[in-house]
């Protein structure tokens, strides 16, 4: 089953019947821009094998960007459940209505459809990243005989890489999927997951921290808890293991461009150095501090008018993720775009957050740069506590304690100059912490 917030469909219903009313998706380039996530899921199943290309637009894509995306993707049509009035004033290809129950037509000779995902986290028009269904499903293991069918859920929208992975895992694992619903309160979402008996659930560390801040996280008892999309630090892994002692807690290294690199299931942050050995598929190497990935699960190229190269000449994609090795294990320290320069010394916000998050009083943190007349920039931290601090002396003592905790683990230029206690941290639509330069 696919459960949306308001209605549901049985996946078996998707096997045959009629499609989209129109017959003109075959061999065409289609931009999928639905409001409803369930409609998007149905359309994906309907279009694969028939359309030449599906460009999967996240729900928050501005309409102004949609026109550019459609042009660059040489789109023949936009499949949408939106009202025609929404598109007034935009120069767009013809719209195909995507409303009501959709069923894929049996395609006599299925073609290898391009699945095109949009990058998240950058400003401006997102980049289009070309995948194939084979690449997207390359890390999905077939269900084992005797396995109970999984009931999947994800905090992601399925129109982003992390969410699409879960839709495909549900489909290929003969399972079910409970979709997220934009704007739904965390407590309602968790109770909806509980009502459908969720067994497998995925999200970013930020999604999980938000879920754990709700006492309603007691409502679910998953067998498998998965993190991806941001650095999974030891604090969040331990917190999830405490909350769900019977669950396997794993973190996946994956990105829209690099696909699913590897999964780490030993309960520890970072990854064993063995991952880098072997040189098989996927293959990894570290150049200039960042992790590079080559595998059949990566995207094949960028799409657009003047696409930049996705891979180097040996087929490796630069993830932009900095890693460092300590005692035979590698740890993620931050992203290329996020480095703070303190008087010529580099600081990754994430490496500082990982330390702060280990403090017993801290729920989560965001480290950022503040401009500074002496060093150009200096590190500051916004911190969410388990128990809100009352302003005054106790609060000042706790700040001093967190800073002392940082000083014990970090060189001086990486220690925040100031700590501010905040009640929450903002999250992007893709489920990541909002960062200045992300």
């Amino acid at each position: 089953m696919l459960w949306g917030a308001n209605h549901a469909i049985a996946l078996a219903d998707l096997v045959d019947g009629t499609v989209l009313n129109q017959t003109d998706v075959a061999g065409r380039s289609i931009v999928l821009a639905t409001h409803d996530q369930l409609a998007a899921a149905q359309a994906l199943v309907a279009l694969d094998g028939a359309a030449r290309r599906i460009v999967i637009c996240p729900p928050d894509l501005p309409l102004a960007h949609l026109a550019e995306i459609a042009t660059d993707a040489e789109a023949d049509a936009i499949v949408t459940d939106r009202d025609e009035a929404d598109f007034a004033g935009h120069d767009l290809p013809p719209r195909l209505a995507c409303k009501g129950p959709l069923r894929p037509r049996q395609v006599a000779t299925p073609i290898a459809t391009e699945w095109v995902l949009l990058t998240s986290g950058t400003t401006g028009v997102p980049k289009m990243v070309v995948h194939s269904l084979a690449a997207l499903t390359g890390a999905i293991k077939p269900p084992q005989p005797g396995d109970a069918p999984p009931v999947w859920a994800t905090f992601y929208d399925i129109r982003r890489y992390g969410g699409l992975q879960i839709l495909l895992r549900a489909l290929f694992g003969n399972g079910s999927l409970i979709l997220s619903e934009a704007g739904e309160p965390v407590a309602d979402h968790l109770h909806r997951l509980a009502a459908h008996g969720v067994t497998h659930i995925s999200g970013t560390p930020s999604h999980w921290r938000r879920a754990l801040m709700s006492s309603d996280c007691n409502a679910i008892a998953p067998r498998y808890v998965r993190l991806s999309g941001e650095i999974a630090d030891q604090a969040i892994l331990d917190a999830l293991k405490r909350q769900y002692p019977d669950a396997a807690v794993g973190h996946a290294y994956a990105s829209t461009e690099a696909g699913v690199g590897f999964e780490v299931n030993d309960g520890l942050e970072g990854f064993p150095a063995d991952v880098l050995r072997g040189g098989g598929d996927p293959a990894f190497k570290i150049v200039d501090g960042t992790l590079r990935v080559r595998s059949r699960r990566t995207a094949s190229r960028y799409l657009g008018r003047a696409p930049q190269a996705l891979m180097d000449e040996d087929g490796f994609i630069d993830s932009g993720d900095f890693v460092t090795e300590r005692n035979g294990r590698y740890y993620f320290v931050g992203r290329r775009g996020g480095i703070i320069n303190v008087g010529g010394l580099k600081v990754h916000p994430e490496e500082v957050e990982q330390i702060i998050n280990r403090h017993a009083a801290v729920k989560m943190s965001l480290v950022s740069a503040r401009r500074n007349p002496i060093t150009g920039a200096i590190v500051v931290a916004d911190v969410v506590l388990h128990e809100p601090a009352t302003p005054g002396e106790a609060s000042d003592i706790l700040k001093q304690d967190i800073l002392a905790f940082c000083r014990a683990a970090l060189p001086a230029h990486k220690v925040p100059a100031a700590v501010k206690f905040v009640s929450s941290l903002e999250m992007t639509p893709a489920g990541k912490l909002v960062r200045q330069n992300a």
Binding site: V342, G343, N372, P373, I374, T375, I378, L403, A417, A418
Partner: protein
């Protein structure tokens, strides 16, 4: 607390945090001989902005950088007016 006392107590706090031995604070002490390094000053300016609500380095266009402790205090006192 006066601006002067705020600055002095923050300098002592930062020096203690950074385990730096500083000279006794007085107006004619040269900042370059105070024992504080540039990171200490960077932290000091950031914390003063939090405590006082302003950063005179960001607001005054033509900044001649304070040379002595007295200059530094005066710089913040003038910006308060």
């Amino acid at each position: 607390m006066s601006i002067r006392l705020t600055i002095f107590s923050l300098i002592e706090q930062i020096a203690a945090e950074q385990k730096i031995k500083i000279q006794p604070l007085r107006d004619d002490l040269l900042l370059s001989e105070s024992g504080l390094d540039s990171l200490c000053f960077a932290i000091l300016v950031a914390r003063l902005e939090d405590k006082l609500g302003y950063d005179p380095f960001a607001t005054s266009g033509d900044v001649s950088f304070p040379v002595t402790v007295g200059d530094f205090v005066g710089f913040y006192e003038n910006a308060a007016h």
